[in-house]
Symmetry: C2
Subunit: 333 residues, 2 copies
DNA sequence: AGATAAAATGATAGCGCAACCATTTTGACT
DNA sequence: AGTCAAAATGGTTGCGCTATCATTTTATCT
C-alpha cells in the first residue's frame, strides 16, 4: 500500500501549488473556477482525504464538539443526542461523545480526555461536575452548555427545565384527581430524580388536606422490570393503601402498569400511575400513562446553536434558558 | 485568558525537558519516579492537557476509531454502541460516531469525513456501502469491521448473524404451533428486514401443508404506533383471516399487541404475535412476546477487539464471524 | 493605452508534539 | 577503582497543513 496521499500529491497531479489545493477544500470561492475544477478532479481521482490532525494543528480549529451524557442506554439522552447530531450536521462539525455512567469522577476524566481534542464547544449533562472539571473547562475558554436542568451558577450557558416544578405539578395533578395516598417510585436517584422527589414532597407538604406519602427509592438503574418490583414494594410499605404512584420515569411507570395486571389492580380506579419523559409506549399502552413531556430533541439542537453563536471570550453571565415541560394527562390518572 | 499551556510550559515548571514531559504522558515507565512525580505535579498544577492534533500528527496514531450506524433512534444500534464504548474504554480510544440514516450516500460522505480523522479502525453497519466508499476504505489500509449481518464478500472483517435464517426459524415456529395464515409486518425495509422477509417466504414455500401468507410493508421508519396500523392493514388484507403475525421488530410487535386489545382479539388464541430483537418490554407485557434475541452488546465489544488485534496490513481473507441468535418463545405464540 | 484597484496564486514559516538518535547518568560486575 | 551495559534524559527534526504576507494576474476605470 502506497503512503496516504497528501496535499502535495494532489497539487502535483493538478499542477498547482499545495496552498491552492488547501483553499479549494476550505475556501472554494477564493479560487478561480478553472483551478477549482482541476483540483477537485485530482482530489477525487487519487482519493485524497485531508489530514484532520494537521489541519486542526495549523488552523487551531478542530471542527469538533465534545458531548458527555450520563448514560447511553437511557433513551432520554438519546433524544437529546439526535438533536445534537442534527444541528451539528449543519455546521460541519464532528461530535466526540462520552458516557460517564452518572459518575462525576468518570465525567472529570472524560472531560480531560475530550478537551485534548481541542473541541470548539462542550455539552454537558446536569450540573454535578467536580471542582477540577470546572477548572479545566473554564480554563479551556471554550463555550460550554449544561443540559437538562436549570442551574443557579452555570459554568457558562445552560438550557433545561425545572424538574422540581415538574414534580410539584404532577403531584398536584394526582391530588386534584382525588388521590390521597401517594407513592413515589425512584430509581438511580441522580440529581434530576432527586429534584422530582423534592417537588413531590413539597406538593404534599403544601396540600391543605390530609394525605399520605410513601417513598420507595433505589440506586439501581432504572428498567421496566424494576418498575414492577418497586410497585410491589410500595404496596407492601403502604399495606395496600397506596392509590397513586408517581414514577420517576416512564420505564418504571410501564413496569408498574404491567405489574398491576398481574396483581389484578385496576388503573386508574384502584391505583393511578404517572411517569416522566413521555416515551412513545406510554401513549399506546392500555390505559395510556400520564407523563411529563419535554422537548429533548430541540434542547439538543439549541445547545449546539448556543455553542456556535457564543463568542467564547464572552464572559458575561448568560441567564439559563428554560425550555419548559408539559404534563400530558392520560387515562392512567 | 492566557494561552493554553503546552509541553514547554509544563517542562519549564517541572524543570525538565519537553520530551520528558511527553514521555511521562505516554510512557510513564520510561521515566524515573522522581521526575515523573515532578512532572505529574506540574501537569496538574497548570491544568495542562495534551494537544491531540499535534500528538496525532507527530505520532501518526490518532487514538480514534470511527463508527457509523444507520440510526441513533433505534435501540438496537444503541446496544451495539454500548458494547463498542465499553471495549473502547479499555483501549484508551475515542469514538467518532456518525448516523447515516440508512442511506448509503450519506454513509459515503460520512466515511470520507470520518477517514479524515485518521481513525485506527472503522466499524460499519451492514454491507450496503457504495463503490467509492469501499474504495476509500480499502485505500485507507485500516482494519474494518462490518456489523450485524453476514456477508459473502466483506470489505475486511465481518461479525453478525443470518437474518434470513432467523426469519426462517421464527416462521417455522409459527407453523409448528399450528398457525396457517401468516402475516409479515415490515417497516423501513432495510436489507436486514428484507432478509427476514425472505426467510419468512422461504419457510412458507418449503412448508408441506397448505398455508396462506400476507405481507404488509412500508418504508416508513418503525415505531410502536406503526405496529398497530400495520396490524389493521394485514387484518384488512386478509379479511380477518390472518392468525399470526411476524413483525420485523419488537416495536411493531408491541404496537400490534396493544392494537389487539383495542380490536378485542385474544393473543395467542385469535392471533399470534412474534417480533425481532427481544427488547426488554417484550418480556414484560401481557402476554409476553416471542422474539429473536441476539448478543448485540457483545457484537459491539467483539468488533472493537477485532479491530485492535488486526494488523491492518493483513490482507488475508478473514471468514465472517457468526455470533448467532436465539428464538425466545413466549406466551404470544 | 496607462494607472490603479482587486482578485488569484504562491512561498515561507510555524502550529505542538513524538520519533529518532545522541548524550549523560546509573548500576552491576570484575 | 575500572569497565561495560543498560537506563534515563535531552536536542533536533519533521509530521501535513494553514496563516500570513508577497507576488502575479486580471478587471476597471479615466
Amino acid at each position: 500500500m502506497n503512503k496516504k496521499p497528501n496535499l502535495k500529491d494532489v497539487a502535483k497531479v493538478a499542477g498547482v501549488s499545495a496552498i491552492t489545493v488547501s483553499r479549494v477544500l476550505s475556501n472554494p470561492d477564493k479560487v478561480s473556477e478553472k483551478l477549482r475544477a482541476k483540483v477537485e478532479q485530482a482530489v477525487h481521482e487519487i482519493g485524497y482525504i485531508r489530514n484532520h490532525a494537521a489541519s486542526a494543528l495549523a488552523s487551531r480549529r478542530s471542527g469538533v464538539i465534545a458531548v458527555i451524557i450520563p448514560s447511553l442506554s437511557n433513551i432520554v439522552f438519546n433524544d437529546v443526542l439526535q438533536g445534537i447530531y442534527s444541528a451539528v450536521k449543519q455546521h460541519h462539525l464532528q461530535v466526540v461523545l462520552g458516557d460517564c455512567h452518572y459518575s462525576p469522577l468518570e465525567e472529570e476524566k472524560l472531560i480531560a480526555t475530550l478537551l485534548s481534542q481541542s473541541p470548539e464547544g462542550f455539552i454537558l449533562t446536569g450540573t454535578d461536575q467536580t471542582d477540577y472539571a470546572r477548572k479545566l473547562l473554564k480554563q479551556s475558554g471554550i463555550p460550554i452548555v449544561q443540559l437538562m436542568e436549570l442551574s443557579d451558577c452555570p459554568i457558562d450557558m445552560n438550557i433545561g427545565f425545572s424538574h422540581f416544578n415538574a414534580g410539584v405539578d404532577i403531584t398536584n395533578h394526582l391530588l386534584q384527581k382525588g388521590y390521597r395516598k401517594l407513592g413515589f417510585l425512584g430509581a438511580r436517584m441522580d440529581t434530576r430524580t432527586q429534584q422530582r422527589l423534592a417537588g413531590f414532597k413539597k406538593a404534599i407538604a403544601d396540600f391543605k388536606q390530609p394525605c399520605q406519602s410513601y417513598v420507595v427509592t433505589t440506586t439501581q438503574s432504572s428498567s421496566i422490570r424494576l418498575g414492577g418490583q418497586l410497585l410491589q414494594a410500595v404496596m407492601a410499605e403502604s399495606q395496600g393503601q397506596c392509590d397513586a404512584v408517581f414514577c420517576c420515569n416512564d420505564d418504571l411507570a410501564l413496569g408498574a402498569l404491567f405489574e398491576t395486571k398481574r396483581m389484578n389492580l385496576k388503573v386508574p380506579s384502584d391505583i393511578a400511575i404517572c411517569g416522566f419523559n413521555d416515551l412513545e409506549a406510554s401513549a399506546l399502552v392500555e390505559p395510556a400513562i400520564t407523563s411529563v413531556a419535554s422537548p429533548r430533541f430541540e434542547m439538543g439542537q439549541q445547545a449546539v446553536e448556543l455553542l456556535m453563536t457564543a463568542s467564547g471570550e464572552d464572559k458575561t453571565h448568560k441567564p439559563p434558558i428554560d425550555i419548559g415541560y408539559r404534563i400530558v394527562e392520560r387515562a392512567s390518572t
